[in-house]
Amino acid sequence: MCARCPELTRRSLLVGGGVAAASLTTGVAHSRIRPQDMVPLVGPGFQPTDKDEQGLWHEMQRVEEEVADTNLLVQDPEVTNYLRDLIGKVGGPAARDFRIYLLRIPDFNAMMFPTGFAVVFSGLLLRMRNEAQLAGVIAHESGHFLRRHMIRAWRDERRKTDILAIGSMLAGIGGASAGVYLGDYVQLAQLGTILSLFSYSREMEAEADAIGAKNVAAAGYDPMEMSNIWQQLIGEEDAGARYRRKHRRRGSLFDTHPTSDARMADLKADALEMRIPGKIYDDGRERYLATIGPIRQMLLDDQVKLNDPGASEYLIQTLAQDGWNGLLRFYEGEVWRLRNRRGDDVRAEQSYAAAVVYPDAPAEAWRWHGISLMKAGRAAEAKAAFARYLTMKPDAPDAAWVRQMVG
């Protein structure tokens, strides 16, 4: 007798068969799609001619109406013009047709809609270290439009569910006339269909990465920056998970996107193919930081309020690799203060003190620095810090209270 011999039950057969079918037809891993094989499937001024695509566009025009004046829309003209110019550079043949909207959502994401309008979350702008990285994400999203991914995915789903519906019906009828029960196979086919839909979605993401790498390289950016984005994201997710004593999510058969690790590796290989040897690439970091400068404090503020200190700290450390400044030091302090574990108050005070040394320290850094000086009994210095806060932000909501403290 062996206690651990697997027993062949209907359930184990189903699960095993499902996994086998899935790995045959889908598989989590895929072979890399080469950038040079990716040609755009739409030209300038594309308009749909098929009924299903027209229906999709009609729906999406209503969605765009809503997106275009949601109150989450960031309307800073400099930033929005900058985004429009960028998509104009890396958008391939449809570059002039794209619309791009920036929404104030502190999350790493961007998306393309079937009619050619893109939505970028503010959390993406916080995470990008230079223009080349942002151009990479925008090129990826444009790739979805250029390869007609939404309508292709829709048609794939329609075809597969049609086949499943007819197949299940025929299995029922065939089974009934032959006197056998084929329900298990129908369930298996259902699972296979679902898995193959997810796999198709992952394949499209890989295509978008490949055509994106091709288009950023054509626009003169270093395609390697696209791979770096994923390296940064993996680090951030690891840091966030470690803080919660968990592990970062790994890929599964039910993912719509390939894993971050796979994307990082494939994009690296793409970049090595697309890079021009010996060329010195300009990553556009100065231009990028200057453009997002006016909204960077808002971006950092939204991030630290997410209550994800592990990820926020990692993010600030990553951004600081390009040099510390008053804004980053202040928000480093905010991460500690809001985390509020033993010793965090001291860490926060040190960060505030470091922040005010920089000329770009935000008004709030002076306020919190003042409070920590006050606690330490250094009243005269505290008053000077508060006075500085009030000159920088005379209309602050707590101005009256601070004035009273200054005395």
Binding site: E59, T161, S177
Partner: protein, 263 residues
């Protein structure tokens, strides 16, 4: 023995195959508008899709536009017989004195309020705080401002989602029916579903005073209950939705305040 059972099953499934449910809710004090009222009807939110063989919704631009036009025509015809002063807005920029943005904001607010009414009153996710209160939802100040700016007494919002079973879906049902011969009887794979709702907002108070839901569906694809893209279907829908407005529970009663104890 098998045949009668089959025949019974078939009869039952055909009987169940198309059903239309309507459910009205009204504010406890609501009386249907009568006489010389001014009613504003906002752009109907319509989607018509084709139901694919596999059971997915494929939105159709041409059918949606047809249906919207038919619904507006049916509404005009229906309201003409009512005596009220009705304006139907077909575009957000068509209301004098109100910006496109303001009207869009009211429409969006109403869309989420209507959705929560459908979820919490109709689909079974009842809220204990709203029990016995009739219809207790409001659009608040935004709707009152709209009323003040335009002089309308009421605003009516309409939402309609309709499906048309594709040839493939109908064929699948026919195949299921054919299976009855060998004992695998499945004609009821699910046909088209239509979900419509309307809400009436009192622009003096901002409150949603009346709400009606129509859910029509057929289990057997191909059985029809009024497609919105046809004039008959649209007229039927408008009639089902707005035909008989019932007053609220305490309408017409004069509410006497409870005597307050004094100590």
């Amino acid at each position: 023995m098998r045949k009668p059972v089959l025949a019974f099953g078939l009869a039952a499934s055909v009987a169940l195959s198309a059903c239309v449910q309507t459910q009205q809710y009204a504010d406890v004090q609501f009386t249907p508008p009568q006489g010389d009222y001014k009613l504003l009807v906002l752009r109907p939110d319509v989607t018509v899709s084709s139901l694919t063989t596999g059971g997915m919704d494929e939105p159709r631009a041409d059918w949606t536009e047809q249906a919207r036009a038919q619904i507006i025509a049916a509404l005009k015809a229906q309201q003409a017989g009512r005596g009220g002063n009705v304006t139907i807005i077909e575009h957000r920029n068509a209301l004098p004195g109100v910006s496109e943005q303001e009207l869009a904001d009211v429409e969006r607010l109403n869309a989420v309020v209507d959705q929560s009414i459908v979820i919490h009153k109709y689909l079974g996710d009842y809220l204990p705080t709203k029990r016995g209160k009739g219809l207790d939802w409001t659009l608040g100040e935004d709707a009152v401002r709209l009323g003040q700016k335009t002089g309308y007494d009421y605003a009516l919002f309409l939402h309609a989602e309709d499906e048309v079973a594709s040839t493939g879906r109908i064929a699948l049902g026919v195949l299921g029916l054919a299976g009855c011969i060998v004992g695998f009887c499945a004609p009821n794979v699910g046909g088209a579903t239509q979900l419509d709702y309307a809400s009436l907002v009192d622009l003096k108070t901002g409150e949603v005073v009346w709400f009606n839901v129509v859910l029509a569906s057929s289990q057997v694809p191909g059985i029809k209950f009024g497609e919105l893209r046809t004039p008959e279907g649209a007229t039927q829908m408008v009639e089902r939705l707005l035909g008989r407005m019932k007053p609220g529970k305490y309408a017409g009663h004069v509410m006497t305040p409870e005597p307050q104890g004094t100590r």
